[in-house]
Subunit: 351 residues, 4 copies
């Protein structure tokens, strides 16, 4: 018997990716589609501006979108909800649900709170220990588990094995981010054709703070952040999906390029050990060709769950350069949340 | 009476920009158009795949393209030549001309040789002192003066006042470069639509070495390179003209953001003092809007000779982030060469 | 002394073009900027999302945007207003102004009404005779003169000399229209990247009806529409500015390709005779190169007021094919309105 | 046991699509990859600039590319070859192969010859009767069967049921064609960004002649061409794959829109009856949404073998407008050839 899941913000771009990822899921079944009042009451196919190439899954197309109200969860007897709602409205809505059932959220609102796990299953699964602390402190029946910003996740996955093996002193990263990160209507074509935009609101702040929490250690009192600095410069370019990032990493110990490739290639974590349904066989693919990864060609590797790393270079001692690419609405959003839920479920942290 | 100038590689994209910049020049007059044997003998309008919006200037359109042979310079009694030829063939051709007359070259071939000035007039005009050394050493009547790679120049101009005022410990820079940098046929549309390419052959090497020569000091024995490191990550994006760069600069002394803005805004050099015809009033424009500079909107400032700097940020002590943008075929190529020639002429280094 | 003019809808894309076209106008001076209540009260530079490359003209930048109320016209003693407001709200607003002063409107609302001139100065200047009929019938002190839809105008200009010389039996036209036609936020980048959209709401209806009114004859009772058919298929493609159209024209009399080129080239009208300030020397440029016109290269000819016609072909008797291109926010909008006002002023139809 | 097939021009874009379509084919097995001398002798993965998203199939990647010589066919005991070679060199090469074995060619060279079938299996399968005539006349053991130009095929499929049910008097069609039609390096990004090109060499001629042969009747003496006119205007736009066409069809009998939709929807042919492996269930999908088909969203329907038809409109009596879209390198090239081979094989026209 599958768990019954609901989606908050089901009509948006990340909501659509949730549907895509959950429609044939072996453990989860979509029983509730929730969105803003403007969509509630409509059939899903009328409420959503569907942007994916594959058609709306049959069972979903005719489902009626409902209000983002905990009553809906109760009526449908939902076991968990996934959330892809705007940060401005998430505070209250996610809390209302978390009081009763687990919430796996792609929204930034709760990410940096002390007792909220911000998890990438391959990187910091032990942060899920915060769940217990959280439930006690807030006196909730459910809880909130968050996944990071779409540009953070593509960076921390390769940083983790580098950190574990060579230590990190500081990171400078420049992103070249896809249009879909801003939502379907986020970037007017007039703004970006023959152009790029060197600014994404709040994005650098998220990368610079979230990375250090994720790469930090769970200790009894909470998370001890990683103690190096991350500096980010975030840019929008004319690509549909796939965030590309140019990283400069100052390591603590010196390294050889081949050592870096080796630790990246053999990197894996709990999702691989536990064979979670959404986990790629290897979370990182190292590319040898000079001009890869490229977003159009590589963003869909591992159904969008693989981070591609290429152009691994070294100039001076302890100075590592590489390019990483990940699919921003899959590994960077819906897929990340689903993987978190799979991990928590497998570890019997709920139900 | 104007000086008679020739253009080597007159049919290519930079060659076209030379024509655009020289057609109404107060001191120079185009008297020779030279290109490969495939073009020689044809009318310019038939030989060039003209890509600029404005039409081919009238006097130029019907001129006959000639071989890249010093005889042509003699026949036309040329005073100087500008060169925009491929690096692979420049070694011999530029030497042949330099034996007799001054060559202002946009080509990379000679840039890093000890006795060849690599000059940005606002940044290191004193490097022109190498001319004398060069002529003696090589026993040439003419000489070669080079300008840097199109992505180097946009970076060193803002680095110069930062270095002079706060010192520089290291620079990490990620470029997002325009298509025209690769030549008209350089990037197939199939390669770049809904995509970016994280690799440009030899570009990072050029940025990392040229910057340090330009920011170095002229001493009697030659140039003493700047003693910090520049690390570059070079990318191609779908923009026609204008290279955007995200720089992270570790300074030696701490700074306030407003101090940086101030030194950038008041920065100027010999081209401004001497009021050279191609010099912009101010070489740097500092932008205050969060989302500027942008290539389509800002690349043509100052007729393409201004470097726009924006998003000046500081996170930690001594860590400066900014975005800079410059027109790659103007300030980054033809305009740079013309400005070099203007400076050398005004300083009576030839004729 | 210049006439004082106001702009309704001054903050939008066509509003910006009005400002660009009027800022140094020899006869007109901008004295009033009017827009929706959301903008009213703000400085122009804060109210408008300025999209043009050249900066907001100095005098305009600090002007306060006002409500679209006839009182504003009276306070500023405006002689005429230009209108670039959405069709949905134009009915009442334009009427309120037209009761008192001349309105030159780019909006579709009144175009097809019997007593409203729909004018392209080179094509049907005599339709301005409707002004008198209109003022009488509506008992207005002012009047409304409209210009056609941005895709209509590029077609009717070349059709006019063809019709006059060879007669027209029917026209099939397929448009490939620029993004700016939909307004700055009209087309999301996600909708159009690696894509095209074969639909523009109401556009085909406008082309099919407006063309026949413009090419019709003024008779004492009103306009007698042209008696052939125009069939249109309208598409959006990823181009910033410039509508390209592929026309198939069945003529009444047979023709030679050279005859067509000749009548297009020598075509001119009252704006040329009267040397109106905004009129191009020739309204049509005929291009001989196989692959021209192209929007990026040719849209700005004649400051955006020229229609470029190329690929003039004939397969069978009486079947003419050609490609025409015109700048949709200049010749197709603001420039068209200004030219109408210039013509009406020169003919002393007001003031 | 599968038939052994070879591919001529295996490294190009259509060659890659052949590999994609044949790699798991139930009847055919790739045994020979042939290309120009520049590629011969290299491993396929080194010889081809692979542009498809999915990786080079495993068995193919290491195969050695060979010369386009009939000896290769003999060594490998090939049963048939598919050809995707440039028209300039096809005359002799295809003949050399056809003397011995069947050639299914995507190249234009032989398409319009009297005794060469130009076939779309759903439209004119009976034209395969020319094979017998061809073999006799040319005294060949093999034969050549061609498929049409990529823009022709998307048009003739919907024209066929319209012609059969309502008759056709004339067709005007404007294409908006994808970049891949010109080959990987065919369209420089500098040529097409913020632009379109209203010209594709020889394309209009092909559409205007091929359509009438395909829609013609096989008679004992050969093909009697359809007796109406097709006029085409061919344009390149910035889309990766998928040719969109705007058709105006003058019919002989009047029609209702619903009748058109009905005949398009129920249209099918021999590939459907015979359940050929590459045949889509229905060759045409009729779309009801105003803004469909769109290339990015619809080009891959039916694995790229479906023609999408939308915006079916009628203005006047007998004047039909519609938009059709098909995948130019699949239904318009490799898939078309494979389907031809499947049909010929199933009908026992060889082996």
């Amino acid at each position: 018997m599958k768990l019954k899941v609901g989606i908050l913000g089901a009509t948006g771009m990340v909501g659509q990716r949730f549907i895509q990822y959950l429609k044939n899921h072996p453990w989860f079944e979509i029983e509730g589609l929730m969105a803003s009042s403007a969509s509630a009451g409509k059939k899903y196919r009328d409420a959503a501006k569907w942007y994916l190439k594959e058609e709306i899954p049959e069972g979903i197309s005719d489902m009626i979108v409902e209000e983002m109200d905990i009553k809906v969860a109760k009526e449908h007897d939902l076991d968990i909800v996934f959330s892809a709602i705007p940060a401005e409205i998430a505070k209250e809505i996610e809390e209302n649900f978390a009081k009763e059932i687990p919430v796996f959220s792609n929204t930034s609102t709760y990410r940096m709170e002390d007792d909220i796990p911000l998890v990438v299953p391959e990187v910091n699964p032990e942060h899920l220990n915060l769940i217990e602390i959280q439930k006690k402190k807030r006196n909730w029946n459910g809880f909130i588990v968050t996944n990071p910003n779409c540009s953070t996740i593509g960076l921390v996955i390769p940083l983790k094995p580098v950190m574990d093996n060579f230590g990190i002193e500081s990171v400078n990263v420049t992103t070249m981010q896809a249009l879909s990160g801003a939502g379907y209507e986020g970037v007017p074509s007039m703004a970006i054709l023959d152009n790029m935009v060197p600014f994404i609101k709040n994005e650098e702040e998220k990368m610079e703070s979230e990375s250090l929490k994720i790469l930090g250690k769970f200790e009894s009192a909470g998370i001890k952040f990683a103690d190096f600095d991350v500096f980010a410069s975030c840019n929008r370019i004319m690509v549909l999906d796939g965030h590309t990032e140019a990283a400069f990493v100052k390591t603590e110990k010196d390294f050889e390029i081949d050592e870096i490739k080796k630790v990246l290639r053999k990197f894996h974590g709990e999702p691989q050990k536990l064979k979670l349904p959404t986990a790629p066989e290897n979370p990182i693919v190292v590319m040898e060709k000079d001009d890869r990864p490229q977003p159009r060609l590589d963003r869909d590797l591992g159904n969008g769950m693989i981070v591609s790393v290429g152009r691994i270079r070294k100039k001076n001692e302890k100075l590592l350069k590489f390019i990483c690419l990940s699919h921003n609405t899959i590994r960077g959003a819906a897929g990340a949340s689903v993987l978190n839920a799979e991990l928590a479920y497998k570890k019997r942290l709920f139900v």
